[in-house]
Structure formats: C-alpha cells, structure tokens
C-alpha cells in the first residue's frame, strides 16, 4: 500500500513525532522514503536568495549551503537514519507548493507532516498575503493521503486495531472511506465508520429539534448501510456510528472512545472561506487536538482499484 513516502519537515521539534512514524513506515512497508526540507521562501523578484526558515537569515542556494543543511538534517535524524535508506531533498519556495510539487513528481503514496500551527508560519502566511497553513493547502490539493502527526504515535501501523473514518457523504469522503478500508484490510484493523450530524448548521440558525435530529441520524445510518457497507466486500470488522454535535468535537470524542489509532477524513474544501477561517477547517481542528495521527484523503487516485 505504501511504496513511496514523502516526509515533509521543517527539521524543528514540531516534526519529531511525524519523523518517527515516517521512518517506521519506511521500514515496515519496505518503502522508499523521501525527506523534503524547504529551505526558505523565494527571494525578492528574480533574486535567487531566500529567507532561511530556521535562522531568518538571507541565504543563497549554493551547493555548500545545501550540503550544510543536509548535514544538519542528518544530525537531527541521526539515530532514525541509521537503519534507513531515505533520500534528503531540498527546495526553495513556498512550503505547500514544494511539497505538492515533489509529491506529484514522485507519485508518492503518502505525505507525512507535523502539525504546523499558524503562529509558526507567520512568514509564509504573510508572504503571499493568504491566510491558512501549509497543512491545509497540502491536504486540500494532494492526490495521496496526507498524514499529520501531532502527538507521539507509539503503535506500529501494522499493529493498528482501530481505524476511525469520518464521512460526510461527499465525493472526497468516499475516497477517504475507501482508503481507510484499504488500510484496515491490510493490517486487519477494525474500521469505525463515523458520521456527525452538524447541529449548528453553519452557526446561523437554531439547533434542530430532537425529533429532527433523531430522524436525520436514522437516515444517515441507513445511507451508510446501503451505500458504503457493500463497498467493504464482505470485510466484517467494522462498526457504524452516527452522532450529533459539532463535527470536529464529535469525531475526537468518538476516536477517544474507541481508542482509535488513526483518524481518516476528507478535507472539507468549501466549508469556510480561508479568509474567515480563523479557527480553521474541521480537519485542522481535528489535527491539532487529536491524540492519534490524522489522515486527510480527498482524491480517488490512490484507491482507484476500489472505485
């Protein structure tokens, strides 16, 4: 399932937990691991200089400099690199763009990242005067799964027993569902299919009455049984759950309740205008609060065989 992995890192502690998962996956799946470090934001005009992401200094992308950064990365991931055949790649540009560029070029099966919070990205955000994090932009556009690891993940992926997939019946969430099933099937984990009825309805109207909510829960459950369960092709390690509330809160509560090893969900592209998304999209909220890794899958490319 994972032949080629891309671990995008700022080489700062925020990426440490993701690093451990990336190197572990490389070993367990005998995959090719690419480590991408974006050196810095593009220079002024046509100038080739850039602002180093770590030091804030102006630098030239000379061979010496690149070698020095690679050496630093080797030191940062020294122990982890001992049993690894990973290749280190560097680039100059806007981080999300360079991550997507390499992922597409190498046709990777998964992108792994740390949870970069917006505060750490002031430079990148201001640079193009666009709100929103690297994580959000990568998750939206990547053709493969984007896994964000925010807290230590000690369970080996091959030993996963509970995979939670949050669905909203959109086309993107169909891809997320199939990807979660594929992984659950491969490692023999139980697949928890979860849907949350959003009672805030965009935050503009009053919550629906109890009868309406219960009716909608019933309908959603039926929809899952009729349309999604048959896609599991007889795989019987699954459960269905529909709750009501605020989607990101409910999925976190549910994952905690089921001791989820991984949350899989689609990134909701149109739910909030980036300019207004001060709190971020559901996927961002889940990522920042989840105690397990979160996989965002939005495109069918890597589950084409199941479509």
């Amino acid at each position: 399932m994972f032949k080629k992995l891309l671990f995008a890192t700022t080489a700062s502690p925020v990426c440490d937990n993701a690093a451990k998962v990336a190197f572990d996956l490389e070993m367990k799946w005998e995959a090719k691991l690419l480590i991408l470090h974006v050196l810095g934001l593009p220079g002024r005009g046509f100038n080739l200089q850039f602002t180093d992401v770590r030091t804030g200094e102006r630098e030239d992308p000379s061979q010496d400099y690149v070698e020095w950064v690679k050496e630093e990365l080797n030191n940062t991931y020294g122990k982890l690199l001992e049993d690894s055949n990973a290749s280190i790649v560097t680039a100059v540009g806007e981080p999300h763009r360079e991550v997507l560029r390499l992922a597409r070029k190498e046709n990777v099966d998964m992108i792994l990242m740390g949870a970069h919070s917006r505060e750490e990205e002031v430079g990148a955000t201001k640079h193009r005067s666009i709100a929103g994090s690297t994580m959000r932009k990568v998750a939206k556009a990547a053709r493969c799964a984007v896994v964000i690891v925010n807290r230590p993940c000690t369970t080996c992926w091959k030993l996963f027993s509970n995979i939670v997939v949050g669905i909203d019946f959109s086309k993107a969430s169909e891809s997320a569902f199939l990807w979660a099933y594929k992984l659950a099937h491969e490692v023999g984990a139980k697949l928890h299919i979860f849907h949350a009825i959003d009672i805030t309805a965009g935050g503009l109207t009053l919550p629906a009455g109890q009868t309406t909510i219960e009716q909608r829960i019933k309908e959603a459950r039926k929809r899952i049984e009729q349309h999604m369960v048959p896609r599991l092709k007889g795989y019987d390690k699954y459960s269905i759950e529909v709750w009501e509330g605020i989607p990101y809160v409910e999925i976190l509560k549910f994952a905690r309740d089921r001791q989820g090893d991984l949350i899989v969900m689609a990134h909701h592209t149109r739910e909030v205008e980036p300019e207004e998304a001060e709190l971020g999209s559901t996927v961002e909220q889940v990522v920042l609060r989840s105690s397990c890794p979160v996989a965002s899958v939005n495109h069918p490319d890597k589950v084409a065989d199941l479509m």
Partner: protein, 460 residues
C-alpha cells in the same frame, strides 16, 4: 587586460557559466573581480558612436540644468533633497561624462556609473513627464546600462538574470518541460472545483495567446491556475505557447541588448507559429514594456508594433467586465478602503490608467487614489530590477519611504498591485516598515467576487 573568471565582458551563453556565477555566494568573488576589471575605452567609444543617436545627444546638450526634474524624482525626495539625486545631475555626471571624455573613463568611474544607474534611478521616467524640454532621463539611464554591460559592469544578479534569458529564454531556470508540466499540474489541481477547466498548450488559431512571468511557474503556479479559471469563466478561446511563454526581460534591465532581442523573438515566434488573434500579458509591468512597447524595435519590426495586437492583463479584465464576460457579484465587492498602485511601465509608459480605473470602479466600493496617481504616480521603489539586487538593498529601502507615505495617506489597508515588481516592492515595504497593509494581484480578488454560471460549478 585583466578579465575576471566571473566578472568579465563575456556574455553568459552556457549552463556551466551560469552555474559558476550562481555558486558565488552573494557575488562576493564577482564584485572583487570587478575592482580589477579594465575598461576598454576604445570599444566603449566605438559603441557610443555607433549607438548614441541624435535623440540622446540632443537631450544631453539641451539640458539647461534648471532642476525642475528634482522634485519629480522619488529618490531625491526620499534622500532629503540631496543635490546629487537630481536626475539631470545623475545623468550628466555619468553618461554625459562618458561622451564628453570620448570613453576615456576608468574602473572607479564605471563602478560609480553602475551604482548610479541601478540604485539612484529605476528608469521610472517620471522626470521625463516634468522636464519642460521633454528630456527623458530614464531612457538615457537604460541606454547607459547597456554601455556599462558591454564593459562587464553590471550587478551580479543582472549578469545571472540575463544569462538565464540566454540559456532558458526565461528569467529563471524553467525549462519547456517544466512549464508545460506546470500547466497540466494546475489544470489537474483545480479540476474538482472547476469542472472542464483546461490550460491548452500550443492550440492554433486561439483568440488569446497568454504569456507569463517565469516566477509564476517557478514559485507561484496558482497564478497560472487563476488566469485559467478567469478565462474559463469568461468563455475565452485561449492558449499558452510551449515555447515563447516568457514575457519578462531582465536583459532590458541589465542593458544586454542582444539578449533582449533573443527573448522577444521567442515570443513573436510563438505568435507566428500558433496564429492567435491577440496576446494577453500577465500582471507584470516591465514584461509589457519589454515585449509590447520596446520589443518590436529590438526585433527590427518596421511597424513598431507586435505581430498581433497585445494587451496587458488589466486591458483584458476591463474588456471582459465591460462585455459582461466576467460579472461581479455586487455583494462581494471590496468594502474596505482600497488603493491602486499605478505601475510605471504599463500606466505611465503604456497609458493604461483608464482600464485600471474602470476595473476599480467595478470591484471596489471605497476606491482611494494615491496622490499623485495615474501617469504622475511614483515608482513603487523597486523598479528597473532594483528589487532583486542585493548590493543596493539599503538604498532601495530608503526609496520605499515615498510609496509608504503615499499609501498611508490614502488610509487604505489593501493595495491592488497588478505588476510583479510593484507587488514585490510593496510586500518588502510592509516587511521593512510594518504599516499593516495587504497587497494583491487582481486575479485572486476577481475569483472571489465573480458570478460563476451554474453550468461551470462543480456538481456537488
């Protein structure tokens, strides 16, 4: 005569040469070698005699040193009215001296002339508008840069930039394959949100041939996607060329006349090959000047015009809004105070201020003009290639103060800057002076406020 390994009179024609220059951190070795570079006075004087025609000779001759150009120069204003920043003084003490001394100048003089030509003048040509005799100092500085370049006196980044044009036919290292692939990447990335979106490459007989700035495929490919979305919504029959897509010309800033010609010829060749009806240039000012205004002369076209009609992006937007091809949702117009940065190249020199005003009247509820504006507007502070030259960063930042004060006086927090250079300078201005502004090209603003016909919306 001592010629450096990196700093010399040779043109950059190979990738190896380019890489050697790039490997020299911040041009350290390059500028050291420049200190020992000999001036070939005979070659310099020969070139002057061959290329300095009556117009420039007359201008230098008739300048009465009246000083009316002084207050028109933003450098003069930003530097506390330093007499050495008066345009007529700057050109007389450099180009004027070369001619009076019949090319008998030394290394120190050439370096002083280079510094003057690049960090005391952005070739914005504002002083030309105010000279009672119509003397255009900006044009003369462009010419001086050519003389300096012929002797190897050009900033390190300029030598690289013009080398890029010679090697890649683009200002950055973007190959034909990179470019074509970026187009399909962007079409693919936006396919879900914009069903049917295409970026047609090398389509013949299209209505519009679209050309860009190499920074877009290199760093900001979403700009290409945004252009595609707007053409798509407007229902245009358009294409991009696989070769001849780069509209900019660092060669023009550097004064590498030969490379200027090579670059525009690649664009004109695409016009010949694909037979489009018109060309539209991305939101870039100097690209418009290079390919649409100056280019025909470099390429020796007798008409003085591009082979097909050519429009700056603002002209296309204004036309699409007037024709109703793009419709603005009134509820989504910009509500906050917003101002517009008039680029020297397509506004003052290209005369397109009305198109820009029409666009602003359609998209903004509280549009505030800078003072002065239109053809009288000040340079953003980063024109003429200055944004990219490390050697002159400090002088550039001083110059930015004039634009900073102009923006502050409008009270607007959003600056629309449909020019890569202005966009960069204003971004840097915010970084240096932190006045709390945002800046934007037109494309992302338009995408957020156009009415999208039902049949172009995604099914979901």
């Amino acid at each position: 005569m001592p010629e450096g390994i990196l700093c010399n009179k040779n043109k950059v024609t190979t990738l190896e040469h380019l890489q050697a220059l790039l490997a020299d951190k911040s041009g350290k070795q390059y500028y050291q070698e420049m200190n020992n570079l000999d001036v070939d006075a005979k070659a310099l004087w020969d070139l002057v005699q061959k290329t300095c025609k009556s117009r420039i000779r007359t201008w230098l001759e008739i300048c009465t040193h009246c000083g009316l150009c002084a207050d028109s120069c933003f450098y003069y204003l930003a530097n506390h009215k330093d007499p050495q920043q008066v345009p007529s003084y700057k050109i007389q003490s450099t180009l004027g001296q070369i001619i009076r001394r019949k090319g008998q100048v030394d290394n120190a003089f050439m370096q002083m002339a280079m510094d003057t030509a690049f960090c005391k003048c952005t070739c914005c040509t504002r002083c030309g508008v105010y000279c009672p005799l119509g003397i255009d100092t900006g044009v003369m500085f462009s010419y001086l840069r050519g003389l300096l370049f012929s002797q190897g006196f050009t900033p390190w980044e300029m030598k690289i930039g013009t080398g890029m044009h010679r090697v890649y036919r683009a200002q950055m290292d973007v190959t034909t394959e990179d470019w074509v692939d970026t187009c399909s990447w962007m079409a693919e990335e936006n396919a879900d949100d914009w069903p049917g979106l295409e970026i047609p490459v090398d389509k013949e007989n299209a209505d519009i041939l679209y050309t860009v700035n190499a920074r877009e495929p290199k760093h900001y490919p979403e700009d290409i996607a945004q252009a595609a979305i707007l053409f798509h919504v407007a229902g245009e029959n358009w294409t991009v060329p696989s070769e001849g897509w780069e509209e900019t010309s660092l060669a023009m800033f550097a004064g590498d006349w030969e490379a200027c010609k090579l670059q525009v010829e690649s664009v004109y060749a695409a016009m010949d090959r694909l037979k489009p009806k018109r060309m539209v240039v991305t939101e870039c000012g100097h690209a418009y000047r290079a390919t649409v205004i100056e280019g025909p002369y470099w390429a020796g076209l007798k008409t003085g015009k591009t082979p097909i009609e050519s429009l700056h992006y603002v002209e296309w937007v204004a036309e699409a809004l007037r024709a109703g091809k793009l419709k603005i949702d009134p509820a989504k117009k910009i509500k906050e105070p917003v101002t517009y940065q008039d680029s020297c190249n397509y506004i003052r020199n290209g005369g397109l201020w009305e198109a820009a005003r029409y666009i602003m009247s359609q998209i903004a509820e509280d549009f505030r003009e800078m003072t002065p504006s239109r053809e009288h507007n000040f340079c953003c502070g980063g024109g003429g290639g200055l944004n990219g030259i490390g050697r002159y960063r400090e002088q550039r930042n001083v110059g930015l103060r004039v634009k900073r004060d102009q923006i502050l006086a409008t009270g607007a927090k959003l600056v629309v800057a449909p020019c890569h250079n202005c966009w960069d300078a204003i971004r840097d201005l915010e970084e240096v002076y932190e006045i709390g502004i945002r800046w934007s090209f037109l494309k992302p603003l338009l995408i957020n406020m156009i009415e999208v016909p039902e049949h172009l919306k995604p099914a979901e």
